[in-house]
Amino acid sequence: MISINEVIETNEMIDKENLDVRTITLGISLLDCISPDLGELNKNIREKILNVAKNLVSVGREIEKEFGIPIVNKRISVTPVALIGGAACHSPEDFVSIAKTLDSTAGEVGVNIIGGFSALAAKGMTKADELLIRAIPEALSVTNRVCSSVVVGSTKTGIDMDAVRLMGSIIKETAEKTADRDSCGCSKLVVLCNAPDDNPFMAGAFHGVTEADAIINVGVSGPGVVKTALEKVRGKDFEILCKTIKDTAFKVTRVGQLVAGEASRRLNIPFGIVDLSLAPTPAIGDSVADILKEIGVEYPGAPGTTAALALLNDQVKKGGVMAANYVGGLSGAFIPVSEDQGMIEAVEKGALTLEKLEAMTCVCSVGLDMIAIPGNTSDTTIAGIIADEMALGMVNQKTTAVRIIPVIGKDVGDTVEFGGLFGYAPVMRVNPFGCGDFVNRKGRIPAPIHSFKN
């Protein structure tokens, strides 16, 4: 029988340490919506989403209430739209109409974000991929709920540098189109290498073609819970440190598994995966940076940070894997800047630079995330930043991503407010030296060799 101390522990995690289920994400295949007629395609998409997702939000609320665990987001991911729009879309404007359909349909079913305005261009772009990518700036400026992602590389295919170069310009254009809102369009746009098909976390979520017709994926969180647990073993050795993280990750993930199973059963949609992630929010006490400080670095970015993060990331997985029936998605500690109060502080103190963040992304999920840079950063420099991050993913066989915001009209020293879960960010310095001759080369970087690892 459950003891009173166990009940108190769980409820304190929820009440005081920000334990929550970050998202129930319903993945929906739109492959059966394909039509050569754009009107028909938009109609099919709307009907499919309404049909599959009609109870998502109400079921999420029921589960929250019955178990007393907050479920912060109920979201939808769909098949990458470039795959389903190819026959009907002959211009970027045609693709924008699909973005509008996704936006309004998401509103109808009550979800705050829908992901999948995406293209898979790891090795090359189809005509549809390119049209969709060129539609992104307009699509993100006229919609509120749509998230967009573009896969530009993988370990197996190498990096499509034509797509990387194009994304450098598209990110800049998206920033300009939403310049009146601190370039917030870019906070809903992510460039990926080795993107998983079952990621429940935005902005990079899409419903991959390897997936079933509809699937429930759940993203857990709980940086505050890990931080509080580590406070109790301050100064202890690495064995105890690691065990404490593992034990805590297990408990947090079990809640995610419970919610995933319940949501799957009540919606009659198969359970896909639990994403084992430490996902921070701007709320005080919900910070991955604070865990790194508790492990022993003065501020994230100080020497030792990469090792501390590597340890944290690995223990979270080790604890979580046993707690969940299926694991997938991004699964690791997220280190977004604007969404984590401790990371923001580290940037403000001068402890954390773009280059150190890049190093940190080698050992954790996912990449350069929610980073504000000066609005006058050139397209080619942005492409160079993307290429570097993609190369890390490609060579290390992991997912990497870039979600970077060149804030039009702002420079180093300024602060940008994105609002809500997106938080705020100090504009970070970018290396001023050029890489135009590199990124302007046409073609792709070949896939890396899979032997002679050094």
Partner: protein, 90 residues
């Protein structure tokens, strides 16, 4: 059997347990276990109950216990047992 965990947290005062138990008895909710402790000066009580025999649905019991909590100045929370089982048992 449909097990629910009821927790009561707040300033200790006369009649908290009586009030909750009277409500549960009146709604045919069977108490399986009851324990209490003081944490940081606050009264904490936990009951494991079975609402399988009650005619009232879970959400009504949850809502009405919340109201009783408001009346006597404590926080009363009802949660399905599975969240604790999942977290603390392999």
């Amino acid at each position: 059997m449909k097990k629910i965990i009821i927790t009561v947290v707040g300033q200790d005062t006369v009649g908290i347990i009586a009030k909750v138990c009277t409500y549960l008895a009146g709604n045919e909710v069977n108490i399986l276990d009851i324990s209490q402790t003081i944490v940081s000066g606050y009264f904490n009580m936990m009951m494991i109950v079975d609402i399988g025999g009650s005619k009232k649905p879970f959400e009504d019991i949850q809502h009405e216990l919340n109201q009783i909590g408001d009346e006597i100045g404590v926080q009363i929370r009802c949660q399905r047992e599975e969240i604790f089982e999942m977290m603390h048992r392999i």
